[in-house]
């Protein structure tokens, strides 16, 4: 019998992680607010429900693999990993500071960080490499790769999509954090992606389309992805950039800008956090 997610509990965790993200970004004074907030439920639904890992032994062989291809959104991943006890929450405030393990973009070496990323478009190919190795080793691990929608402009993603489908890598689950924005503006204005679902399908992928902030839908999608055999699955998660804080939502100027102290205070109030 499959375990069922406790959605209420996951929602509470998502709120706490948003608080941590905002605090660490304000503390750092720079970083990517919008794209971190948009993928919180994608991470929470995975790490606190589906994902096999052991924070005590981050490199244990039976772990699943998580790849953050859109490396700039690492504050969300750092906050999630700290919440999972891969490292102490106190370390979050070292984000982007000299000597930190929490580099401006993820660096392999920090417990829970599988790959260094930041230059877009490379994660899905790496996921395929893990998946091919797992197949050779008869290892049942699942490989999850979160991409941004702006990131899909990179041709390498489409090369990798062909590879995953060609090798029938059903141990690969791609997730697109489809928040509809990239640095220069709306994705549909910069370089239109639609019809995106049909494009992934035409490339040989199973496509699950969900509300990326609804933790019931997110966890259901992860459950469903596991059952798809003979081809890779992608979850197109419709999200809102800056989700969770009214004055950041769909405000693209917060793509790469951290909240000021005043904004942090207001944001925490909205999220029901005290400090």
């Amino acid at each position: 019998m499959t375990k069922r997610p406790d959605v209420k509990k996951l929602e509470k965790i998502a709120r706490e992680i948003r608080v941590e993200i905002l605090k660490m970004l304000t503390c750092a004074g720079s970083g990517h607010t919008g794209g971190s907030l948009s993928m919180v439920e994608i991470l929470v639904g995975l790490y606190f429900y589906k994902f096999r890992c052991d924070p005590e032994r981050p490199l244990c062989e039976t772990r699943d693999i998580f790849i953050l291809s859109k490396g700039h959104a690492c504050p969300a991943l750092y906050a999630t990993l700290a919440h999972m006890n891969f490292f102490k929450k106190e370390e979050l405030c070292t984000l982007r500071k000299a000597g930190t393990r929490l580099q401006g973009h993820p660096q392999r070496g920090l417990p829970g960080i599988e790959i260094s990323s930041g230059s877009l478009g490379q994660g899905l190919s790496i996921a395929n490499g893990y998946a091919l190795a797992a197949r050779l080793d008869k290892d049942k691990k699942h490989i999850y790769c979160v991409m941004g929608d702006g990131e899909l402009d990179e041709g390498q993603i489409w090369e990798a999509m062909l590879t995953s489908a060609h090798y029938k890598l059903d141990n690969v689950c791609g997730i697109v954090d489809y928040n509809k924005f990239q640095i220069d503006g709306r994705t549909e204005d910069i370089k239109g992606l639609e019809p995106l679902k049909e494009k992934w399908q035409a490339f040989g992928w199973e496509v699950l389309e969900i509300d990326g902030h609804n933790l019931k839908e997110v966890t259901d999608a992860y459950d469903k992805a596991e059952t798809i055999k003979g081809k890779p699955t992608v979850i197109l998660a419709h999200t809102v950039k800056g989700k969770g804080v009214s004055f950041f939502e769909n405000q693209n100027k917060y793509h790469g800008v951290a909240p000021s102290k005043e904004e942090l205070g207001k944001a925490l109030k909205e999220l029901g956090a005290n400090d």
Partner: protein, 316 residues
């Protein structure tokens, strides 16, 4: 010297099959140049450990990174221009930055590619690879050395760029010769001038050494097969002993072997250096023999350069 011609890519192909027999972690990928790179020999023997990536160099490099992260030792094979040129950022971020065990095999290095012309002749890729932290860069001089270099690369931790050639080259090393990454081999002793070469140019350097000998000039010949990490001691000793250096490479002198030697000597023991190599230009179509003349990469050119270097000693 055994002048049976054999391309360095053949030495690689043989070694990869041998490695595959011994080690389960060895896997290979190719970006639609499986036969040309000789990865095809491995594919034939170990089809389940070979991955055709199509014409997608960037995808290939990062897929190799994923395989390496899973404990495999991948050899990612394509032409040098495409490996280093098209996938440079992938090599930088997903391989070198993570110090992964990915072996990048760039065949068809240099102008000896011949008729295919400049788009396919890599004359810049040593520079592109050498600048990356953690990267080892090896340029074998013959098929036998290429075989040893491949085997050594498989056991060396971290990323390696192996530069190989398309055309047959004379086998100048012997089966018993020791190959050690980062350790230059002195092939001829001499104290009037030192010719430091890599790849096919080592053969031309030996011919030049013989010609110089006839004129009473004793040239040292050093096979600098590893451009990085470079054997600083061998270079500095050559400069101190001879006071005049000639570098010879089938690659741009900007950042290649000439650049490497200059960086070392400028810091440790400056002496006159003359450069044999591609002088800030693209290649062109033609037979390798003809192109070596046009690009002034022949033994005759090395002899002239040696004399220039020796003459400049007085001015130093």
């Amino acid at each position: 010297m055994n002048i049976n011609l054999k391309p360095t890519r053949d030495g690689f192909g043989e070694a990869l099959v041998e490695l595959g027999e011994k080690r389960q972690d060895i896997v290979a990928l190719s970006a639609d140049l499986t036969d040309s790179t000789r990865a095809g020999w491995f594919k034939k023997r170990f089809p389940e450990r070979f991955f055709a990536m199509g014409v997608s160099e960037q995808d290939m490099i990062c897929t190799a990174a994923g395989l390496a992260l899973s404990g495999k030792t991948p050899f990612a094979c394509t032409f040098g221009v495409f490996a280093a040129g098209r996938a440079w950022d992938q090599i930088r971020v997903s391989v070198a930055y993570m110090d992964l065990n990915v072996k990048i095999v760039g065949t068809h290095g240099g102008i000896s590619v011949g008729p295919d012309g400049p788009t396919h002749q890599a004359v810049e890729e040593i520079t592109l690879m050498r600048v990356l932290p953690n990267m080892t860069v090896i340029v074998p001089c013959d098929a036998l050395e290429a075989k040893k270099a491949t085997i050594a690369s498989a056991s060396c931790k971290g990323p390696v760029y192996l530069r190989l050639g398309r055309s047959g080259v004379p086998t100048i090393t012997k089966p018993g010769d020791k190959f050690e990454i980062g350790k230059a081999d002195t092939l001829r002793q001499g104290n009037d001038v030192a010719i430091i070469a890599c790849g096919y140019e080592v053969y031309e350097a030996l011919l030049a050494c013989d010609a110089l000998k006839k004129e009473g000039i004793a040239a040292r010949v050093i096979n600098l097969h590893t451009l990085k990490p470079v054997d600083r001691c061998a270079i500095v000793k050559a400069a101190k002993d001879t006071g005049a250096i000639v570098t010879a490479e089938e690659h741009s002198i900007i950042g290649g072997l000439g650049g490497t030697v200059s960086e070392v000597l400028a810091q440790e023991f400056p002496v006159p250096i003359e450069f044999i190599g591609v002088k800030d230009r693209f290649g062109e179509s033609g037979s390798p023999e003809k192109l070596f003349k046009i690009f002034e990469l022949t033994a005759e050119d090395i002899v002239k350069a040696a004399k220039r270097a020796i003459a400049r000693k007085k001015m130093f």
